[in-house]
Symmetry: C2
Subunit: 506 residues, 2 copies
């Protein structure tokens, strides 16, 4: 019987996946739940990742002609009411501002005062307030397409919250575009979904499936919702980004009309699309291990940490000089267009220091002691490999290899995640094996089971609901790459032409 290996995070993923997630987030110092119900505090190590991700996403948007703007935090109730499905979807969970000041009450405590004539809600999303602006800005076909994005905070009063994955307030971007024709709007919806696929796969190293949502799962008010779906290590699905073709629903609701080239007044076609800080939760659950987070280099808050070993006062100065020089050299190296981000941690706190950086998931750790300096070397560890593979390399080799090493970590993380998803994706053609797939086998570990089940579906919402009620499994997407093949619905056996992806989901 082999001794259980000591891990930095307790419980392990297998022992208790949801609790493992909370502990990993805590140990990484990326974020924490605040004293304000359901709101999180994003700490510097988490926010730095968001900044790095945000800047790269922003560049990708701008390369497609999108410009940034900023719209009000508050939305009058009357705006929300303009689109019936939309209000239905958001009224149930929104923060409502009813007063504009506080006054001392009878007991000396502050109470709301200055009642507003019309309550305002804190934006859960901005289709209605941005649509109103578009209706004023757009007059002619010459004003189209209009391609706008905003980086903002939004609020949805969620009942059950979990850091990064589902919080009352979160940070996101929401793109909103207006087009003269239906086809152009659909093309833009697809284009932005493809940007999201690249963000997930190339930056976050998270493989994703792209496809359409079913009627039941689409955005309130959309004609169609396209999505990227990822598989977490507990085999559940995470919706990581959505792009909506809104048809003329919001153009009607907000009165977005334009004069066509033929001088006819026409209703416009709109889209909206967003990704959020939820992506960070997806990153953690895709790549994290029982020692903590593993950050993909392309978005990492920092790429390399230098850990000088300062044990003997007479040697410390030489070690620090060598370390600072290495930091300087590294910061002069460009990694995908930006300088390497390097941390130097000179605290003399023993092994704790190394473990802190492991838990934070920095891609590369470099220890530098007097012996290393004597042989002009550094002792390097990759976060994606076993610690036994740490090794001494010459400083010159390290400097010339670092970009290759980071690219290799990025590739390794992606391939590992892809292999995991593939090994947990199966085709199902009969209900009993489908049901068994989604039933926990191990009572001590009820969280990790299932995966992506590719099964035929008749297209009916009744079958979808029945499955959801029985297994808590939903259609994650109707994949774009799904080949047509004759089959029968997994639930009702009616004919079907295509498999869809079923899974339990976050």
């Amino acid at each position: 019987m082999s001794k259980k290996e000591q891990t930095a995070i307790s419980p392990t993923r297998f022992e208790n996946y949801p609790e493992w997630y909370q502990q990993v987030v805590k140990a990484s110092e990326m974020a924490e739940i605040s004293p304000v119900r359901g709101c999180m505090i994003i700490k510097p190590w988490g926010y730095g990742l968001w900044e790095s991700l945000q800047r790269q996403i922003d560049d990708m948007f701008k390369a497609t002609g999108v410009k940034n703007a900023y719209f009000p935090l508050f939305i009058p109730i009357s705006f929300l009411e303009k689109e019936a499905e939309h209000v239905e979807g958001f009224a149930k969970e929104c923060a409502v501002v009813t007063h504009h000041k506080l006054e001392k009450g009878e007991d000396g405590r502050l109470v709301p005062a200055g009642k507003l004539s019309e309550p305002l809600i804190v934006r859960p999303t901005s289709e209605t307030i941005i649509g109103d602006a578009f209706s004023r800005w757009i007059k002619s076909h010459r004003d189209l397409p209009m391609l706008i994005n905003q980086w903002a905070n939004v609020v949805r009063w969620e009942m059950r919250t979990r850091v990064f994955l589902r919080t009352s307030e979160f940070l996101w971007q929401e793109g909103h575009t207006v087009h003269a024709s239906k086809q152009e709007a659909i093309d833009r919806t697809c284009m932005m979904l493809n940007v999201y696929k690249r963000v997930a796969e190339e930056l976050l190293a998270i493989p994703v499936i792209t496809g359409d949502k079913s009627e039941a799962e689409k955005f309130p008010g959309a004609e169609t919702t396209m999505c990227i779906e990822a598989m977490m290590q507990d085999k559940k699905a995470l919706q990581a980004g959505t792009s909506h073709f809104l048809g003329q629903n919001f153009a009607k609701a907000s009165g977005i009309r334009f004069q066509s080239a033929e001088e006819k007044e026409e209703l416009a076609w709109t889209t909206s699309w967003g990704v959020s800080t939820r992506l960070i939760g997806g990153l953690i659950m895709t790549h994290g291990d029982d020692n903590g987070v593993i950050l993909p280099p392309r978005v990492a808050t920092a790429h390399v940490v230098l850990l000088p070993i300062l044990k003997k006062p007479e040697e410390n100065e030489a070690v620090m000089t060598y370390t600072e020089e290495l930091a300087r050299q590294l910061r002069n190296i460009l990694y995908h267009g930006t300088p390497l981000r390097v941390e130097v941690d000179a605290r003399n706190i023993g092994g704790t220091r190394n473990w802190e950086w492991i838990k934070k998931g920095i891609p590369v750790r470099v220890e530098i002691g007097p012996k290393d300096i004597a042989s002009n070397a550094v002792f390097m560890s990759r976060r994606d490999l076993d610690r036994k593979q740490s090794r001494s390399v010459t400083k010159e080799t390290f400097l010339s290899d670092i970009i290759g090493i980071l690219d290799d970590i990025q590739k390794n993380l992606f391939e590992r995640a892809l292999a995991f998803r593939e090994s947990n994706t199966h085709d199902f053609d009969d209900m009993s094996s489908f049901d068994a797939f989604f039933t926990p086998v191990n009572k001590e570990q009820p969280e990790i089971h299932g995966g992506f089940a590719r099964a035929h579906w008749c297209g009916g919402s009744d079958c979808e609901t029945t499955i959801k009620n029985r297994l808590n499994v939903t259609i994650r997407c109707i994949p774009f790459d799904g080949k047509e093949e004759a089959g029968s619905c997994i639930e009702c056996s009616k004919p079907s032409k295509k498999r869809v992806v079923f899974a339990k989901a976050y």
Copy 2:
């Protein structure tokens, strides 16, 4: 009698300064007031400037060791109440969230439902919520200094709003730092004020005076507030940034304690500092003229617009090829570390096009027609110079000179603003000339008068209040560079050692 020159903005600054400001903002397409009371929409041309400014400010912060984080939008009332002066300052004008959903009322309209047990306010500033986090994060002197910044939206329910200058919601950054000693906290307060001075002068080309606020004008809860103050073209002062030494007030309120090197528990010292989208209003009122905005190149949304003249179909292709090639060459040029931002406007709409770019204040306009191509030239106009100074230069000269031209515009704008401030800053030693200085002479133009009055002040809040009530003039700052000199208070004639700056203010 000379004919009045036609200007793009009506009224002119002299005719009606406040209305000129509104018209300039509108004509520039930088922002507009939204249908949500007091909230603005920052349009792409304004938001691009904010992004450029934000990125440079952020780099300056990071160079001093500051890291970004993100804290909740909502603050429980009980947090606000922890610091007495603070709550006094902000309770009068804050958005209060009292409910977490909407339900159909009796008349079918949506009404607030799900009452919160404790109302939340939308952050007007975040000292209390961040202080609470600091009290949990900081344990030892080894955790100090803690240097945190957040980029966020804040809400103050202002009664009279004006785009960029005073809006219910605005964008800003708020820095919050914690230190082990009083001196270190004061040094940080000064350091960040100096960063703001550089932001104003080097990036926005706005000359500023630095100094302390009087008791009456300081931040609610601060020990001292330092500020940068600028003079607008109506000779009023604009507070453009503040840096607060908070003493131990918020450390007491939030319980921010640490174990010192001597293992004693001590209360920490904190600072906070912020600049906001108000800077954009300051930029407009400092540099704008009767033809619209003038953007300083260091923060301009775009630096150069290329305006191909497309009149004859047989020539258009050659003109566009020449234009696109020039755009490509310009975008390869670095201006203070980032590629030149170049717009190409190929609309065939006559003189309107040129005027639109003048009103937007782009630093350099370049017209390109078939004749220019024949002589390998471009026709260049600088926004800071009279249109009569537009001239034809060879393309090579233009490419080699463009950085110098932009730097010259930047310098010119700063020097113009500095000369204006200096010519409108005067020393006063008797009350009657002081009062006359602040009394409108011209009844048709009551807005533009006064300036900065440097006068002695006894230090008493009574004199300050008397002057404020009589003239609507306040002490803008007690300047750092003010030499000591014997004098007597402009109001009460008591002895004073230093002149302070009085002005009407935004």
